[in-house]
């Protein structure tokens, strides 16, 4: 069975005409610059054309002009909400080609940063999504401000670790750039404990709320088959009943050392994706706790400190490295030619693939549901457009 064509719904519509409505590119619910051209019959969407590319900077061409030492800090500008993840994918691809060992301590630090980043990213998603869906949810902006408050604690941790709050440049080929400052581990433990209790609070606020249930349950259903064929990943894929997590399926950076669950929901709707992310909060916090408990001593990089930007040379070869980001499979397909710069680099942005599901699931829903569905996909347009 092929499901290649985007859906087009025919209604017994007796109105005089079909309306074309433009949504975006500056629409408050788009979380960035995204334009949807909706075909409406009354209040119901029957067709959608997604227009993207407003944030395109051609990262792939840029990567061909920058060295392996320079690019990781630019990589963070693809997905700026989860900047650690994209750096991770890039350095991992270079390490796979060059067969470069990463010291155990650096691997653990990478895991801690990646998991805290996932929590920060999910917090921003939850806050903005609930804000989009409006005043019925605990007073509109309440949950948004709660989430931003908690995300701020994680950004403070990153700031004391790296010096930057949003775009880090923490990962580098062979290890990480900074070791933990004094007292960081204790602060991190406290933060993790606080956030753990707050997640209960969010769940109580939302799940008892009949408005929230009506707006998310049965809305934007993605079937297991369609999910795989379009290539959506991460919480969306797991919300459609596919138990696949790269951290479990092909462990990297010592993820095999940690115990965690891979939450799966079978409903495939907005509520299912919400449930998966809420469970992932806790799993990420568990991983951070385990990594802090067992953090080994030793060097944080297997390579000497950088004296020039062209110092890192990667032998001829190619590799595809993927990591489990907050939005799913973030992949970097890298071809090295033996010089200090890659010959070709392809980003598989998780948000790009996830967004491609919209033309398949939006038709048949009301305009108001478009906002709920788009938010549940959690696109970051820096990563869509790259």
């Amino acid at each position: 069975m092929t499901i290649a064509a985007p859906r087009h719904v025919e209604l017994d519509y007796t109105g005089s005409e079909r309306l074309t409505m433009n949504m975006g590119p500056q629409h408050p619910s788009a979380h960035g610059v995204f334009r949807a051209i909706l075909q409406l019959e009354g209040e119901t969407v029957v067709g959608v054309d997604a227009v993207i590319g407003y944030l395109h900077r051609c990262h792939e061409k840029l990567a061909e002009t920058l060295t392996y030492a320079q690019y990781p800090s630019i990589a963070s500008k693809t997905d700026y909400v989860a900047a650690m993840t994209s750096e991770f994918a890039y350095v991992r691809a270079a390490e796979m080609i060059g067969k470069i060992e990463v010291p155990k301590r650096a691997q653990y630090l990478r895991v801690i940063a990646a998991e805290l980043q996932r929590v920060a990213s999910h917090l921003l998603w939850l806050g903005t999504w609930c804000l989009d869906m409006g005043g019925a949810l605990g007073g509109g902006a309440t949950i948004f401000l709660y989430c931003i408050r908690e995300r701020e604690m994680i950004l403070d941790l990153f700031e004391s670790l790296v010096g930057a709050r949003l775009l880090y440049g923490f990962y580098q080929v062979g290890g990480v750039r900074y070791d933990l400052p004094a007292g960081w581990v204790d602060t991190c433990r406290q933060t993790v404990d606080v956030i753990d209790t707050r997640i209960d609070e969010y769940q109580r606020m939302l799940e008892d709320n009949p408005f929230f249930q009506v707006r998310t349950q049965g809305v934007g259903v993605i079937s297991r088959e369609l999910a795989q064929e379009v290539g959506i990943a991460g919480p969306l894929l797991r919300g459609s009943g596919v138990a696949f997590d790269i951290r479990r399926g092909e462990p990297y950076s010592s993820y095999e050392d940690f115990e965690f669950r891979v939450p799966v929901e079978t409903s495939g709707d907005c509520f299912g994706r919400y449930k998966v992310r809420m469970a992932e909060f806790r799993e990420s916090l568990t991983i951070v706790r385990q990594a802090l408990d067992r953090l080994p001593d030793g060097p944080i990089s297997s390579r000497p400190g950088l004296k020039s930007v062209a110092q890192t040379r990667i032998p001829k070869g190619e590799a595809y490295a993927r990591v489990e980001g907050a939005r799913g499979e973030v992949g970097c397909y890298l071809i090295a030619d033996g010089s200090a710069k890659p010959y070709r680099m392809k980003w598989r942005g998780a948000s790009f693939s996830n967004l491609a599901i919209l033309p398949h699931i939006i038709p048949g829903h009301k305009v108001a549901d478009v906002v709920a569905i788009m938010g549940s996909v959690d696109p970051v347009f820096g990563e869509v457009d790259r």
Binding site: K61, E64, L226, E229, G231, F244, G249, R344, S353, H360
Partner: protein, 150 residues
């Protein structure tokens, strides 16, 4: 379905295919077999997850289209490749097999100018409709001006 089994099945079905590697299994075929290979990967090898599709410009040797698909249940990854040959920029579209190829092929057309035959809606996706050229070709200089900007 293990990587070894997949390699044997591919070699049986596609006599001209070059197969090596284990994770992922890298399969190179001629352009004529591209669509058949994708269909075989999905239906026989169970690779229903579409990861990405892109291209590489090998300068004088021409363009190469690369596509990655996975069988998530069995942990099998396939990296499919086909060389289009010097001066050729047309390739069969995978949209009839994988819905996810739609946007990926549009991006690939945008960046490399590859015309995907059988694509239902082949137009630029990231760049504006009035853009001149295809930026990821090696012949496209990074500092190519784009009036009125540069």
């Amino acid at each position: 379905m293990t990587a070894d089994q997949a390699r044997v099945l591919i070699a049986e079905r596609f006599s001209g295919a070059q197969v090596d590697g284990a994770a992922p299994v890298v399969v190179s075929v001629a352009r004529d077999a591209w669509l058949d290979l994708a269909r075989f990967a999905k239906e026989t090898l169970g690779c229903r997850f579409f990861s990405f599709l892109s291209a590489v410009d090998w300068k004088d040797e021409g363009l190469e289209v690369v596509c990655k698909v996975d069988n998530l249940d069995a942990g099998l990854s396939l990296l499919l490749k086909t060389r289009l040959g010097p001066g050729v920029s047309a390739c069969p579209s995978l949209v009839p097999v994988y819905a996810g190829a739609n946007w990926m092929e549009r991006e690939c057309y945008d960046m490399f100018g590859i015309a995907f035959e059988g694509h239902p809606d082949l137009r630029r996706i990231l760049l504006g409709d009035d853009w001149v050229g295809h930026p990821l070709l090696k012949s496209y200089a990074v500092d190519t001006p784009y009036p009125p900007y540069r």
